[in-house]
């Protein structure tokens, strides 16, 4: 039982980082542009399909295909920002409607290109690490480390670079940031593109673990939002922690309760947290 519990605790942490990377995109986009971008799940699907296509169809090595897929998603993110999201900034409803419309467009294009038949990438790194107390699939371990590194690097960039501090400043007081010389339009575009690239990275890594189908991003964007709300919108490390809490709740919950309702475990936990800490787990209350 201990082995099962520890194993699932670890599995929850790993799956949780995938929720965390989406949550990070959600929190960054909302914090800087005021847009609730539900299309991040669809961008994740673009990243997944692109990495699968580049690896299995074109024959490019997976470590090269992943950054290429991220680049492709970032370009789509830039296009989406310049043609759509630019006009909806700081307008919650318009941004939401545009992002929901964008999901339909992206899913339809993916359907036209690759139908709804699931795609399975060849195994990049098969096998498991057996550490007595728990077993970790090697590829899941790699995905976890990459996502963790990206989230930590994002945190470092936001806290230790001028651009990062400018983003924080803009999130807290847009007018003051503008007066201090922050190029706000450029900053907002950069954040939208970076958030979509994060979703693309999540998708590209997801493709090495699971089967792909066009609506795969739907559940992940919901989990990403759950994680972001659980942590408290606006906290970078909180996004990671929110994702991990959600992943662990689902994984450990599935040991004691039926797997068929695993999505509900995270939601119940979210409701409980919000009852006692309405601003989220990792937001400091004054």
């Amino acid at each position: 039982m201990l082995q099962l519990f520890v194993g699932q605790l670890l599995n929850g942490v790993i799956v949780g980082t995938l929720y965390g990377i989406i949550a990070l995109g959600v929190t960054l986009t909302f914090g800087i542009t005021g847009i609730v971008n539900f299309a991040l799940g669809a961008f994740m699907a673009i990243g997944a399909y692109t990495s699968w296509y580049l690896t299995d169809v074109v024959g490019i090595a997976y470590p090269v295909a992943v950054p290429l897929a991220v680049l492709v998603v970032a370009v789509f993110g830039l296009l989406a920002d310049q043609t759509l999201f630019r006009f909806t900034r700081n307008n919650l409803i318009n941004g939401l409607i545009v992002s929901i419309g964008l999901i339909s467009v992206i899913q339809s294009v993916l359907l036209m290109l690759w139908t709804t038949t699931p795609k399975n990438m060849h195994y990049i790194l098969p096998g498991v690490l057996n550490l007595d107390l728990f077993i970790v699939p090697k590829m899941k371990g790699v995905v976890f480390l990459v996502l963790l590194a990206v989230i930590l690097a994002t945190y470092a960039a936001l806290t230790r670079t001028w651009a990062g501090r400018a983003a924080y400043a803009f999130a807290q007081a847009p007018e003051a940031a503008k007066l201090m010389g922050v190029r706000t339009g450029f900053l907002q575009t950069g954040v939208v593109v970076y958030s979509t690239a994060l979703a693309g990275l999540g998708g590209a890594l997801y493709a090495s673990l699971y089967s792909l189908e066009v609506s795969m991003g739907s559940s992940y964007i919901l989990k990403g939002f759950e994680a972001a709300i659980l942590a408290g919108i606006g906290t970078v490390m909180g996004s990671l922690m929110g994702g991990i809490v959600l992943g662990v709740t689902e994984a450990v919950g599935s040991i004691f309760f039926p797997q068929a309702y695993r999505d509900a475990y995270g939601l119940v936990f979210l409701v409980l947290i919000l009852l006692f800490r309405p601003s989220g787990l990792f937001v400091r209350t004054r």
């Binding site: 099962l4 194993g7 089967s211 795969m216 994984a251 797997q259 068929a260 999505d263």
Partner: protein, 383 residues
């Protein structure tokens, strides 16, 4: 109208008569997460229709007919399937409809189809069709797939075989949907009868990470994992099962694909396969010809992993229907054609006949993939 009749008389042009063409419908998912079953059926059916028409059609009661295939894509969606079936029955007046293979689709169209009892035949592989065969107002039904249970059932045989392998405990991991519950209802008694402990776990459609539930199952140390039921989930389940040490898989639906992809991590992958084409192409001339024809027709590689599903409402069934119409001496008397279908044994890719309830009985194979990819095939011909 008068002008058309005059033209036809003067120039000897006979207007195309509806009875010159026999319309056959097909309601299958050709795309979608559950398209595995319908896609191959559609592939084979197109080939059969093309082959028959290219040969000049077929003769019934001294008259030549050609076939017209109506095969839109249900995408695995019951509402879409219902729209398509309505079109086939009310606009195209098709009297023979093949499919569906999916239980959820059948459940979706059954109430409507029942209103057309006696006016058409629905020949499908869906497991749920079994339970309606012989029921009042369901004379239109025939089932184009071997039944799991019963003395000739492949499931009964496979469970008995599992007992011989020393299995004492089997864990089922099934999708929480219509077929999943039907599968449990079929197999729980079969395992019980053989004295094999049967545990069940369920997952929601759309699940891709099964590691938690598989770890839970693994902790119970079953001898075999019985996962369901389509390749859309099997690739993920089989991979993740091997990662938690569940290396013996036993299935009654799905393809060899997930087993072959994980062949180095698996100890056993036992699966009911209507025909193991890789072997049959060397021993059965009809199979060899079918594979060559397929490659020429679609200008692509032969889908060995999907091909066994051509045993249901597919290539052979079109030829069998034509033979039945010829025997019945009619293309539109569905009662006579059904009677003829029930009385013949068609020898094509499979040796196919229907039992007294209208359920298909075909010869089949059980394939066992061993560690590293070695394959053992057992052939069965039900009594």
């Amino acid at each position: 109208m008068f002008a058309a009749a005059t033209l036809a008389t003067c120039f000897g042009i006979a207007p195309a008569k509806a009875q010159d063409v026999v319309k056959i419908g097909e309601i299958e998912a050709q795309t979608g997460a559950l398209n595995t079953y319908g896609w191959m059926s559609s592939q084979g059916m197109r080939m059969a229709v093309e082959e028959i028409n290219k040969a000049g059609g077929f003769e019934v009661a001294g008259k030549k007919y050609k076939l017209q295939l109506l095969n839109p894509d249900t995408q695995g969606n019951p509402q879409q399937a219902l729209i398509e079936l309505k079109g086939m029955l009310e606009q195209d007046h098709a009297k023979y409809v093949f499919g569906p293979f999916l239980t959820n689709i059948y459940k979706g169209i059954e109430p409507y189809a029942t209103g057309f009892d006696g006016k058409f035949l629905l020949i499908g592989g869906a497991t749920a069709i079994h339970f309606d065969l012989g029921k009042a107002q369901h004379g239109y039904l025939m089932r184009s797939w071997n039944w799991d249970a019963g003395p000739s059932g492949f499931g009964s045989l496979m469970v008995a075989n599992l007992k011989q392998r020393g299995a004492k405990k089997v864990a089922m991991l099934m999708q929480n949907d219509a077929f999943g519950h039907v599968a449990r209802d079929i197999y729980a008694p079969l395992f019980q009868k053989e004295g094999i402990q049967f545990d069940e776990e369920w997952f929601e459609p759309g699940t891709t990470d099964f590691s938690s539930v598989l770890a839970k199952i693994a902790a119970g140390k079953p001898d075999y994992l019985f996962p369901g039921y389509s390749d859309a989930v099997l690739y993920d389940i089989v991979r993740q099962a091997t990662e938690v040490g569940l290396t013996k898989i036993w299935l009654v639906r799905g393809s060899l694909g997930p087993g072959l992809k994980n062949k180095d991590a698996l100890d056993e992958y036992i699966i009911y396969i209507p025909k193991y084409f890789e072997e049959a192409q060397n021993t059965e001339p009809k199979v060899k010809k079918f594979i060559a024809d397929y490659k020429a027709f679609y200008k692509t590689d032969f889908p060995y992993d999907q091909a066994p599903l051509c045993s249901s409402s597919c290539y052979d069934h079109v030829f069998m229907l034509v033979e039945a119409m010829q025997k019945a001496g009619s293309v539109d008397d569905v009662a006579k054609v059904k009677q003829a279908l029930m009385s013949i044994t068609y020898k094509g890719l499979w040796e196919t006949r229907y039992d007294e309830t209208g359920e298909e009985v075909i010869n089949f194979d059980v394939v066992d993939i061993k560690k590293g990819g070695n394959i053992e095939v057992s052939h069965f011909t039900p009594k």
